[in-house]
């Protein structure tokens, strides 16, 4: 019996010692994160890329000429045309239009469908003045002049269509926006395509500036495609953070689909954002790497996988968030929850990780 009791005690002691050991699992910080999606093929989607401007620099041209980009992208959009206060559309000089037409022809020969994006900025070409644009849209004669000018612009540039980018409009412009899109649809379609670059609303009333000015229910039947511009997730005076959140983007696309838009794209930003004391500015992947190197700052990944780091310079503390090939592919994989009919539009050709198109192409079937 003594021996039995001793053995029993030994087992109890072993059990008692095992209990704290049982809680001794730890995080292995030296190991890479286990990503259960890595290696799996991405859902093939219709791909488009937006170029901010009327021309391509060497980096952009080489990217579009690569076999990888041609596998990923089928459409190129030049955010080039700007309606002016006087009802014309710029650029209007013959040299610029001829150069643009030649570029469009070259890309078309390379297999891309090329469209002209229309930005309703002020005449600096960089700033959106929603109130001024709303007052112009309220003028039916101005709408008529711009509609005709845009139609001519599309024809002259040999583009396959127009893509309309209306931002920061007040809700009171809703009816005028719909009327304008209706007039454009009549003028442009079906010979050319008409596409709307829509604000990424996830609710009604809209949670983004300018969202309530876009009546998707009325506009969706007037256009060939709606690109939900799910970029600038952390912007406009908000806290530093990633340029996109994949779940938020899914909600924005679903919301647009719920309003009747059937040909949808979700957007992915190719640029990063430097959040500093003076405000925010867009940065490219190369600039982000250069800043991290020059300030000797380690780059870490945030919850969405977006690389980011902090640095100090003369004007204070900065937080820089951007995307690379890894974070882009992770987001594309997260979007497997979306219908394969939803395309992807990449915003900001020339700002991306140089390895991006090769990386995406490898993961496509």
């Amino acid at each position: 019996m003594n021996r039995s009791f001793g053995v029993a005690l030994a087992l109890v002691a072993l059990l008692a010692s095992a209990a704290p050991l049982g809680g001794c699992a730890a995080e292995d910080t030296s190991a890479d994160q286990t990503d259960q999606a890595s290696g799996a093929a991405l859902t093939p989607r219709r791909g488009a890329v937006i170029v901010d401007g009327c021309s391509l620099d060497t980096f952009q041209a080489e990217a579009l000429a690569s076999p990888s980009a041609k596998k990923v992208l089928k459409e190129v959009v030049f955010l080039c045309a700007v309606p002016r206060y006087d009802g014309t559309v710029q650029p209007s000089d013959p040299s610029a239009l001829a150069t643009l037409a030649a570029l469009v022809d070259k890309l078309t020969m390379a297999g891309y469908s090329v469209r002209i994006g229309v930005s309703f900025t002020d005449e600096t070409g960089t700033r959106y003045d929603g109130a001024q644009t709303a007052s112009l849209l309220a003028d039916a004669s101005w709408r008529g002049e711009v509609t005709a000018a845009l139609h001519t612009f599309a024809v002259t540039s040999h583009a396959a269509g127009l893509e309309i980018d209306l931002q920061q409009l007040p809700a009171t412009a809703r009816a005028d926006v719909t009327a304008f899109m209706g007039a454009l649809s009549t003028a442009v379609r079906p010979a050319a395509q008409l596409v709307l670059l829509a604000p990424p609303s996830v609710s009604a009333p809209s949670d983004v500036v300018g969202g309530d000015a876009i009546d998707l229910v009325a506009i969706a039947p007037l256009v060939d495609r709606v690109r939900v511009m799910t970029v600038d997730f952390s912007c406009c005076g908000g806290m530093p953070g990633p340029t996109i959140d994949s779940g938020w983007a899914v909600d924005a696309v679903r919301f647009a689909g719920g309003l009747g838009a059937s040909n949808l794209d979700v957007a992915f930003p190719l640029f990063g954002v430097d959040f500093g004391p003076g405000g925010q500015r867009s940065v490219s992947w190369l600039e982000a790497q250069g800043l991290a190197d020059s300030h000797q700052q380690p780059i870490v990944r945030g919850p969405t996988g977006a690389p980011n780091f902090h640095y100090q310079d003369g004007d204070g503390a900065h937080a820089l968030w951007f995307d690379d090939a890894v974070s882009t592919i992770d987001t594309l994989d997260a979007w497997s929850v979306l219908s394969p009919d939803v395309g992807v539009v990449y915003f900001g050709l020339g700002s991306e990780d140089p390895a991006l198109w090769d990386a995406i192409a490898r993961r496509l079937p």
Partner: protein, 233 residues
Amino acid sequence: MSCRGCSTWVLRRLRTASACGALGAVLFAGETPARAESWYWQLAFGPATQWLPQSPRFSLDATQTPLRTVGGGDVGTIGATSWLGGYADMGFAISDRWQIPVVGIGVYAPVGSYALTHVTRDGSFVELQPWTAFLIDVPLPGIGVRVKQRRWMFTGALRTAVVIANVQARVANGAAWADLGRVSATLFAVRAEITACRRFDPETRACVWIAPNVYEVGIANGGSLGLRWEWGP
């Protein structure tokens, strides 16, 4: 044999094993245990380890976070895991020949170091933290045979179990994480237990046992090893 075929085969045998265990319990329930009678209660407890090359797939209920409502569904696995814990078990023996395990309970926590597991759920990135997991193992009725040889006793049994596992998870909300609480998995298991015991007297013995998983998450997916102190003729 396809996986679908395997599941059907296993389920048929699980039903058979459960029916035998239930029949045994019904036939002998209410009998007063005594050394001279045909069935005897058995009690056991001890420490054990488990090894699962494939861990179960966890699932999440639809969850509201500061950013959005994340739809419910599968959130994947945490990969191969090793566990350590303790258990208690109860059953009875019939005619000193048949072993009928009835029910038990075990609680296990992971051992070792684990990398974070990133998955996606409804478009959002979800992070599972394997080292925060715990596992509740509820062995259910089974059937076995036992042989005594002087001071040694050997048992072989086929045992069913319900396993409940859960792990801490969180979801990306822009630049921050939002806590999802614990995501869980519940699964059915079948194990083959082989026990070797050294008897100290007619009713107490110390044992070592091994139980390869016939089916747990998958076919032949790991197993358990443990020590046991048993009471009962």
